[in-house]
């Protein structure tokens, strides 16, 4: 049964295979107070999950946690994830998951606006006057000291656009390698643009399934794909 069906989703939930996540993209300074309040609310109700918690659950079927878990997730390498989201999480003592797109980490600030136009990277009106819109590798290295780093392609690529061996190297293999070198561990998860599940019949899907990464992140599921 395809995981993209209501029947699959309903059965997974009924079988107890339920996960709470909260996805953020831009986290501008103007929303710092809201973000902190929301994360505090989640912490009152739920426990932040680490990859090891998911491993244990998918191996045993038991959570072993005092409260239900949730995963706070920050996508796409926005500078405000480094200047607002990560510090707020640190202030709350909360470990979050960051899914950076890696190519923009190397794009000079003066070229980031043009890059953003082509790669679904949203620049908020309130941040238009900033010198830069994306974090740097140095910013990500700081985040990686306290948070989980996952992979999200190099250029915010959709699975359907990753076809050739060069595409696979550029959008899947190289980002995973770079993040592994940065953090010392393989990224915990991988997500395509649009949250497409990895299809083993496609070069992109096969590459993710063979990458050694433990979780495929989709719009509707976190899938354990490796021991």
């Amino acid at each position: 049964m395809s995981i993209l069906t209501k029947d699959y989703q309903r059965q997974a939930f009924a079988d107890g295979k339920l996960l709470r996540i909260v996805n953020w993209h831009n986290t501008p300074e103007s929303q710092r107070g809201v973000l902190k309040a929301e994360l505090s609310w989640y912490l009152d109700h739920y426990v932040p999950l680490l990859p090891e918690d998911l491993d244990r659950f998918t191996d045993t079927g038991e959570w072993h946690l005092p409260k239900p878990g949730f995963i706070p997730v920050f996508y796409d390498s926005y500078l405000n994830n480094a200047t607002v989201a990560a510090p707020v999480c640190d202030e709350l003592g909360l470990t979050a998951w960051f899914f950076p797109t890696t190519a923009i980490l190397d794009v000079p600030p003066e070229e980031q606006s043009a890059y953003a136009e082509k790669h679904d990277f949203t620049i908020l009106d309130e941040e238009r006057d900033q010198a830069a819109y994306a974090m740097t590798w140095d910013d990500l290295a700081v985040i990686a000291k306290r948070h989980v780093i996952a992979a999200h392609t190099a250029n915010h690529a959709a699975a359907k656009d990753i076809v050739t061996p060069d595409d696979v190297e550029r959008e899947i293999t190289a980002p995973i390698r770079a993040l592994t070198e940065l953090t010392g561990v393989a990224p915990a998860a991988f997500a395509f643009l649009y949250g497409t599940p990895p299809d083993p019949a496609t070069p992109a899907g096969r590459a993710v399934l063979d990458s050694g990464i433990r979780y495929a992140t989709t719009n509707t599921a976190y899938l354990r794909i490796k021991d």
Binding site: F13, K17, Q31, A216
Partner: protein, 119 residues
């Protein structure tokens, strides 16, 4: 959409009645700069993997989520699954399911701090 404030944002909250209105409200929010709460499945897709859940709370929460998903999916199906951007192609392959999960998550997971914070 519900008046049980202590249960707001949890699976204990009562099911929303006007499902299309909840979806419309979600579509109207500035999701690029807000947290998007989502219930998703967590499954074992390793070759030969077969996750059997014994966790009592997970089973209870999952049963409630499945029941609510049924109602929200049916509520959207009844009005033809209104699309936020009807002229744009669906890149997800599961727009209807995702919209039902969006409603479920908005009502039973999203943090309820509205009106409590100024920024």
């Amino acid at each position: 959409m519900n008046d049980h404030l202590s249960d707001a944002g949890t699976l204990a909250a009562p099911a929303a009645v006007d499902v299309p209105a909840v979806l419309a409200a979600c579509h109207g929010r500035l999701l690029e700069r807000e947290g998007i709460a989502m219930f998703v499945a967590l499954d074992d897709a390793r070759p030969g993997g077969d996750l059997r859940v014994g966790d009592v709370t997970a089973l209870s929460d999952g049963a409630r989520a499945a029941e609510l998903l049924d109602g929200y999916y049916a509520g959207l199906e009844a009005v033809g699954f209104p699309a936020q951007y009807p002229d744009e192609p669906d890149e997800t392959g599961a727009r209807e399911l995702i919209d039902a999960l969006v409603v479920l998550s908005d009502q039973h997971l999203r943090a309820h701090v509205d009106g409590e914070v100024t920024s």
